[in-house]
Structures are given as C-alpha cells and as structure tokens.
Symmetry: C2
Subunit: 147 residues, 2 copies
Amino acid sequence: MKEVKAILNDTLVLLFNLVLKSEEKFLREVGCKDLSINEIHVIDAVGKNESPTMGAVAGELNVTLGTLTTAINNLEKKEYVARKRGVKDRRVVFLSLTEKGQNIFDLHQEFHDDMINEIVNSLSDSEELALMKGLNNLIDYFMTNYS
Amino acid sequence: MKEVKAILNDTLVLLFNLVLKSEEKFLREVGCKDLSINEIHVIDAVGKNESPTMGAVAGELNVTLGTLTTAINNLEKKEYVARKRGVKDRRVVFLSLTEKGQNIFDLHQEFHDDMINEIVNSLSDSEELALMKGLNNLIDYFMTNYS
DNA sequence: AAATATAATTTGATAATCAAAGTATTGAGG
DNA sequence: CCTCAATACTTTGATTATCAAATTATATTT
C-alpha cells in the first residue's frame, strides 16, 4: 500500500509541472506570443466568472488586489480585457474580455477540453466516479484544513 | 456526460490553486517565515534526487540553469542547501540539504503524505486503481503531445 | 594541441508577487 | 445631513522568479 501512495505522490507532482508547461507550449503553438501562462489564467478567470469584478477575480486566483491590478493594467494595454466602473457602486470595477481576449479564452478552453477528454475517455463510468470521488475528497480536505 | 467533464475540469483547476495555497499556508503554520513556495519545491527536488546536480534539479523543476543558479544562491545564503564541486568532473556542482534544509524537507513531506493519505484512504482498492489510471493517462497524453 | 561540447554562472531585462499606504465611494449611526 | 468606518481598488516600494544570451571553466574528441 505504501507503494501506491508514493507513486500517487510522484504522479501528482509530475502532473502539476506538466500541466503548466503544456499550457505554455500550447499557447506558443497556437501563435500567441505576447501572453504568459499567468496572464492566460487571468483571462480565463475573467471569462468564466459571471460577475467579474477585480475583487472576485483576485479571489478566484488567490492573489491580492494589488497583484491583479498590475496584471490587468498590462492586459488592458495589450487589449485583451477592458475595465468599466460600476454605475450602481462606483468603487467596483467590472472586467470583460475584448474580442481578442475572448479568442484566446476559447483556445485555452479547447486545451482544457482535450485534457479532460483524455482522462474521461480512458475510464469506465465507475472509474470516472472514483476519480471524481478522490478529487472531491481532496478539495474537502484542503477547504477544511487550509482555508 | 458533458456535465461530468465540466465538473472534472473545474475540480482540477480548483485543486491546482488549492494545493499551492495550502502548501504555502502549511509552511506558515509550521513557523517557516523565510521560504517561498518555490524555494520549498527546490529544496524538495534537491532532497529527493539521488544525484542532485544543478542540471538534474533544473531539469526536474523544468527551469533553466540560470533560474536555478539564482534560487540556489539565495538558499545557500539562507543556509538551506550547500554546493560542492564534483571531484571527478569539476564542471559539475552537487547540491545537498543542510540540517535546516532537511528539516523543512521532512515537514513538507509530511504535508504531501497527509494529502495522499486523504485521497487514498477515502477510496476502495478498485477506485484507487481508477485514479492511478486516470492520472497516468493524463501524463502519457502530455508526454506525447507537449514534450 | 585545437576545436567542440558540457556544466554552471553572470548579465540584463521583464513579469509576478506582496504588504502597506493612499484614494474614492458607500453605508450606518447619530 | 454629517461624520466615521468599511469597502473596492490603485499605487508604491521591494523582492523573487524567470528567461535568453554571453561568459567561464572544464572535459572530450579529433
């Protein structure tokens, strides 16, 4: 049993590095030269949030507002995202993707879809459930122990 | 079926952020104030490599030698790792953990053990296999498509 | 012995990050 | 309505992480 745990650990660590590097490589192959992997994740968070304020996106990415401000400054300059002050509450800044931003968002989504398909297609239904169970347990664990 | 894929994607993304933040939090709780999560990963790579040269560790971490050089400079200054030139081939630099470094290495290992236990203990033997299968498929996929 | 290859470091530049201080706006209590 | 506290964000100042390209030192090949 110890064996399995050790393997699982190594596998997870390897996967971690691999996913990040693969995302980067994917971007280059897709011809995107002016975005880092970090910036893609910001675009991703903006794109999938249904009410993407600075605060919401910073929270989702687990970075401070200051960090996000500089990231958004750059992405705004490069015309991937746009800022707009809230009308009801003028302290709030709402973010949105430009056409250019939406484009990259879609491409990155494809990468993730491929990744997920690769896992799911290789598994039977019951194995699929086992995977979900394992991942959910892990999330619960982190939520209760390190939130 | 689409549902499961979407959930799996979100779960993986969430897990990704959660693991990194949890590792950071773990360090703070353990009283380690002068190491970033990145530096821990360097210490980890040095500790678990059976022949930790600069090149080997840089390769494992997927960073350039230049990047690792600066990281090791800092860790050496803070006395977590030590450098030693190879005697047989004097171009090579062998790294090792100091007592302080080994200490943190052990603590971080505990974190990982807890994490792995949390997954494995919640799964039956067959579910465990399914999880491994899913992860291994993913690694194969990245290796062939993005290496 | 000279040319080439390898292992690491240095250099110069940029991106990512945080904590703390600052700005603007809102909301609550008197 | 006014003040004061809270909220949402930006700015500032500093550090760390990163890379590509140039450099240094050593080994290997021819």
